[in-house]
């Protein structure tokens, strides 16, 4: 039956539309289609999808050669994530208002380095649902007690009242009771940190 089909009206299944061309779904033509009736004829029985002759390995379509360090590599490097946060490029002015640290700050007996993002490590810590505000100066090196005295003096002058501070010598930070972050930043910039 199958041989008759194939020899006499091999393209009959193209007339009946799409169903005739689908493998094993040609019941309306009274014959079961096998892979070989559609494509090349082989005598293997296919138990596996990848053994089907319809499934072919796609050839590499593009020829390429490997090149080390071409001039275009700079454009790729531009897209790669940064290994480290880049150091500051010295400029005349900084339009963002960022203030660079000064060299002479390193001669003081106390020191506060910038964070890795080149910002001052002075923060406002809000706790108790906003009821308690504490300004925190972190990463202090050197004479922390002297720095504490100077901060107190500065705040006393600016706000005309006594302001409580707390020094944590081991943790290298000073806490100032109240929100004095802007004033403390001004003081730190004036010292060159």
């Amino acid at each position: 039956m199958a041989t008759v089909w194939r020899s006499q009206c091999a393209f009959a299944r193209f007339f009946v539309g799409k169903t005739g061309r689908i493998l094993n779904n040609a019941a309306d033509l009274g014959i079961k289609l096998t892979p070989e009736s559609i494509s090349v004829s082989t005598t293997r029985s296919y138990s596996n999808y990848s053994h089907s002759p319809l499934v072919k390995k796609i050839k590499e379509q593009y020829d390429f050669e490997i090149e080390k360090n071409p001039p275009e590599w700079a454009y790729v490097e531009r897209l790669l994530p940064l290994e480290i946060i880049p150091p500051v490029q010295p400029k005349e002015t900084y339009p963002s208002g960022w203030i660079p640290p000064k060299e002479e700050a390193k001669d003081l007996p106390y020191f506060m380095p910038r964070t890795k993002n080149h910002e001052l490590p002075i923060y406002l810590v809000i706790t108790h649902k906003g009821q308690r505000k504490v300004s925190m100066l972190r990463k202090i090196e050197g004479d922390i007690w002297l720095m504490n005295d100077l901060i107190k003096e500065h705040l006393q002058k600016n706000f005309n009242r006594y302001i409580e501070t707390r020094v944590h010598e081991l943790g290298r930070f000073i806490e100032v009771k109240g929100d004095f972050v802007n004033s403390l930043r001004e003081w730190a910039y004036s010292k060159g940190f």
Binding site: L82, I84, I85, K116, E141, L170
Partner: protein, 288 residues
């Protein structure tokens, strides 16, 4: 921490003794150092990628392992952000707890009343005997009955310590070891013999603690030192990427090769100066 405290006290005693010795034989020591400086004492000025700002870099002698008597081969600088931070004992403690816990799976197990054998039948009628009412002899009230809320096996205690606490733990421990004179830098790990007695004598002579952790920058240590340390259970070698707080506290003295000291410093400084958001993100199981 009791380890390091005892160690510190012990080191204090030893240092006073050595000072006395120095005073008594000061002239010879000085001449020794001079003779070395004449021959091959090299003082290297380091090219800092992240120059130390306020705290000065720590200077350390480069020592040798190829003779039992200590020779100073050179002077070396260590970055203060890695080797001279103020040691936070609480962070060191949290690291130790983490290292003990994250690999701990508790296999303690108890059976519930459903799992204890038997107990399906009502032991005696509900009424008429004058006894307490019971439905099963494996009820938790009974001797030999099931356990309520007991440990169930396969309980993991895994968690990850936040990334910067792990970094800070390493720097704290390295700094504490360095401040207590328990960190020594050597040029390389070449030994003249593979005899373990040589190494034991060297450790004894130089007042290195009974237990010694040797850190190299390489997975492959030289043959002599691997053979010598094989039967010394208290002398261990690890590569620099295996350095951890627990092992550093477990051993009294830390011996680091010069290249390993540089690699540790480089890696930690890179983490301290880069964007660490990927490392700080929530730990996912598929990232192992």
């Amino acid at each position: 921490m009791s380890f390091s405290l005892i160690n510190a006290i012990r080191k204090l005693n030893i240092s006073t003794v050595s000072q006395i010795r120095l005073i008594s034989s000061g002239s010879t020591d000085v001449s020794n150092i001079n003779s070395h400086s004449n021959s091959d004492l090299n003082v290297t000025q380091k090219e800092w990628k992240f120059p130390p700002q306020f705290t000065k870099p720590r200077e350390v002698w480069i020592e040798n392992l190829d003779s039992i008597d200590e020779k100073k081969l050179g002077l070396f600088e260590l970055h203060p952000l890695v080797y001279a931070v103020l040691p936070r004992i609480d962070i060191i403690h949290r690291n130790v707890i983490w290292q003990r816990k994250f690999r701990w799976v508790s296999w303690a197990h108890t059976k519930t009343r459903a799992e204890v054998h038997g107990g399906g039948r009502k032991p005696w009628p509900q009424k008429g005997l004058g006894r307490a009412r019971h439905g099963s002899i494996r009820s938790p009230l009974w001797r030999g009955g099931g356990i309520v809320h007991g440990p169930r096996s396969g309980k993991t205690h895994f968690f990850m310590l936040p990334f910067h606490l792990r970094i800070h733990g390493l720097t704290s421990t390295l700094s504490a070891k360095f401040a207590q004179d328990d960190l020594h830098v050597v040029r390389n790990l070449e030994l003249p013999t593979e005899d373990p007695e040589y190494l034991a004598e060297l450790i004894e002579k130089r007042n290195w603690g009974p237990s010694v952790l040797i850190v190299d920058d390489n997975d492959y240590a030289p043959r002599n030192i691997t053979v010598a340390t094989e039967n010394l259970p208290h002398v261990n070698i690890i590569p620099f990427y295996g350095l951890n707080v627990y092992s550093m506290l477990k051993h009294d003295t830390l011996i680091i090769t010069q290249t390993a000291a540089e690699r540790i410093e480089e890696k930690i400084l890179q983490h301290l100066h880069s964007n660490t958001m990927p490392q700080q993100a929530k730990f996912k199981l598929n990232q192992v």
